[in-house]
Point group: C2
Chain length 211, copies 2
Amino acid sequence: MQHKPIHILIVDDHPMVIEGLKTLLSDDERVTVKTHFVNGTDTLSYLEKDTADVILLDVNLPDINGVEMVTKILNIRANVGIIGLSTYSEPSIINQMIKNGVKGYLLKNATADELVNAISQVHEGNFYFGSEVQKILADSVTQERTDLPKLTRREKHVLTLIAEGKTTNTIGEELFISPLTVETHRRNLMQKLEVSNAASLIKVAVERKLI
Amino acid sequence: MQHKPIHILIVDDHPMVIEGLKTLLSDDERVTVKTHFVNGTDTLSYLEKDTADVILLDVNLPDINGVEMVTKILNIRANVGIIGLSTYSEPSIINQMIKNGVKGYLLKNATADELVNAISQVHEGNFYFGSEVQKILADSVTQERTDLPKLTRREKHVLTLIAEGKTTNTIGEELFISPLTVETHRRNLMQKLEVSNAASLIKVAVERKLI
DNA sequence: ATTTTTCTACTGGTTTTCCAGTATATTGAT
DNA sequence: ATCAATATACTGGAAAACCAGTAGAAAAAT
C-alpha cells in the first residue's frame, strides 16, 4: 500500500549538507525533497505561497537565528513539522527550539535511518529526538542548573565590562553611575552565579554564554 | 585531453556531509572519491596500506583532533594534499593546521566550484583557501596577536585553578607551594597575556582555549 | 493603582589582588 | 659543562575587590 510521499523542505546554508540530505533521502520513496533554501528570508517568503510537510531546519542560518525561525515558520504554516539540525549540541538552544515548537531535533552526524525515522515520526505528529540529543536533554534535567539565573540587562552589561578587565571605577565612569553601584551589581552577579570572585564569575559567564 | 582522475579520500563523521561531498564531486570527471572514513583511526590505518591524492579532512573528528591528524597523515604519506574542512572559522585552529601542513582550507558552506577548485589546486601543489578563510587569515595577520605566548606547564595549571575561583592561598595549599609563588605565577600570566586582572585573564584564556 | 523588581547609592571594615623589584634552586637544552 | 628557562620565594606598599547590611527612586509587572 503506497501512501503519497512526505514533502520535505531543506533549509541550510551548506551546499554539502543540502546535497548530503538529498542523497540520503533519495533512496527512500516515502519522502520527496521539494526544494531547498540557504537562508531564512527566502524560506519564509516561499511558505507564504506554498507549503511542505516537514522542514529540516539548520539552526545556524546566516540571516535569521533558528529559534526565531521556528516561531516565524509556525506563524505562517502551523501544520508543518519542523526538525532542527545542528552540528553541536547546546542544551539551552535545543530547549528553546522545543519550547518554540520543533517536533524533532538531530545532530548532523545522524544516520540516514535516524533521518528517515525522524521525518516519518514528525509527520505523524510525534516527537523524535536523536539519541545524542536525548542524552543531552536528560542531562540538562538532572543537572537542573540549566535554568540559568536570569540576569538583568544592567547586570549583563556590567558583566561584560568586568570581563573586559575594567575596574569598578572605570565601569562607573563609563555608565555614568557610582562605582559603589557597580560594586553592588558585581556582588549580585556573584551571588546569582554562585561564585566568590570576579575570575570565576567570568568563567561561568563564558561557559553559559551569557556574554 | 583526459588526465587520470584525482583520487579523493573523505574523512568526516557526518553522513550528511559525506554524501553531500560525494554528490557535489560526482558531477566532475576530474575527481573520483575513493572511499570515506568517519574517524581518524580508520583513516590512518587505511593510509598505512593504500593512499590517495587529496584528503578532505573534517577538523572535528570524534577520536583525533584535526591538527594532530594532519601531522599523522603527513607522517605516513608525505605527498598527499590535505584540505581542512570545518563549519566555523577559528583563526587559531586554521593557523595551526596550516603550520602542520594543510594545503587548503574550506568552510562547510563552500560551493561545489570552490570545492573542485581547491582540490585541483592542492593536487597541483598549490595552496587554496576559501574566500571566507582568506578574510580570517588577513584579519589575524593585522591583529598580529595570533602568536599566543606559550605558557609553561605550571602556569597553565595555576591558570585553571584561578579560573575555578580559587584564591592564591588555596592554590598554594593545593600545589604545596607558597602563596607568594602562586602570586608570582599569576603576575607572569597577566603580563604574558597582557591584561591587568584575574577576570580578564580568564577571559582571554577561555578565548584562546588555553584552559 | 499597587506590588515587585531593578537600579541606584551609601557606610565601614576585611581580604585579596596588584605592582615592582630581587633572588635562588632546579630543570632543560646545547 | 654551561647557559637559559622555569619554578620557587621574599619584602613592602598601593589599589581594588569582597563582605554585610541598608535604603530610596525608577521601572516593570500585576
